[in-house]
Symmetry: C2
Subunit: 156 residues, 2 copies
DNA sequence: CCAAATTCAATTGTGCCCAATTAAATTATA
DNA sequence: TATAATTTAATTGGGCACAATTGAATTTGG
């Protein structure tokens, strides 16, 4: 008996566990792809001595020039427990400066230094280098971006 | 056509940095969504005293019953540096057992204990609970899964 | 058979991530 | 205006992730 595979019986036995599989849950490939792509960034980012998280912070600063930690956290979906040490590390490298707001001393303002600003030029081609590692059609790229942004919005 | 903003000018000034923005790179939302969804798992998994990584390992074992560390790493895209402590932790909880293969003593076999097997019943409804937090249409779910699996395949 | 290469897991060190707590500063309220 | 509530970062501790190294066991080539 029991020649059916465990995979396709939803009526009894192991069938009730059908959804409890790696292949039937979106979160696992999401998680794995995310890590795999960050892995592709690593050798490229090492050339400018940045980790992926540090690179995310720098991208914000290249657009905003000055932001506080709270705003940065909201933009990157990261909290102070993650950002505090990352920002100290960027300060140690001389890429950002940290200073308290005059109006509200609880607020820590993060600004680009000249060196941090100059790094933008060196980072310029990174998105192109990464895009070479990821083979998706323009349609797939657009579709993926749309769905991910939709999911991200749901977490707010 | 002359009403374009600084954001889409590829011809001068900051234009050459256009791709170097959070909004124009897929990796960032991928990374953020992955973390946000894992965050949704946390309170649910806490009820059965598992972390997300431990849950992934258990899902493999509920299907395979016995696997070695190398195979597990290939399935989950994780290396021994991550898995070794996770597996020890699962052993401490009494959910898995670790034993060397008789034929090749380099190989560590991970097996479900009775308690680990029984946990499956408690975990049964987790995929359903998570799906309630994620609002995607069936089409979007299918599309996302297809694209993620394609990307995952490219890393091999 | 034996040395070299390979395979597999464990260890070590660095860097996130996050929950929970703390501490400092500001704002709102009785 | 005291004081209670809120806001904002920093700190702490636990658990991954991963690169690099190590060491043990097996396989392979001469």
């Amino acid at each position: 008996m029991m020649s059916r595979t465990a995979d396709d019986d939803m009526t009894k036995g192991t069938g009730s566990y059908e959804q409890l599989k790696l292949g039937n849950q979106l979160c696992f490939p999401l998680y794995a792809v995310s890590r795999e792509i960050i892995k592709k960034y690593r050798p490229i980012l090492r050339k400018i001595d940045l980790t992926y998280t540090q690179y995310l912070v720098m991208m914000v600063l290249w657009e905003e020039d000055t932001v506080n930690v709270k705003k940065l956290g909201e933009m990157l979906f990261l909290d102070s427990g993650t950002l505090s040490p990352v920002l100290k590390s960027l300060e140690t490298k001389g890429l950002v400066s940290r200073s308290r707001s005059d109006e509200d001393e609880r607020i820590l303002l993060i600004s680009l230094t000249d060196r941090g600003c100059a790094l933008r030029e060196k980072a310029k081609d990174i998105p192109f280098e990464i895009s070479k590692c990821v083979e998706l059609s323009p349609e797939e790229t657009y579709e993926l971006g749309t769905i991910l942004r939709k999911l991200l919005k749901q977490t707010r």
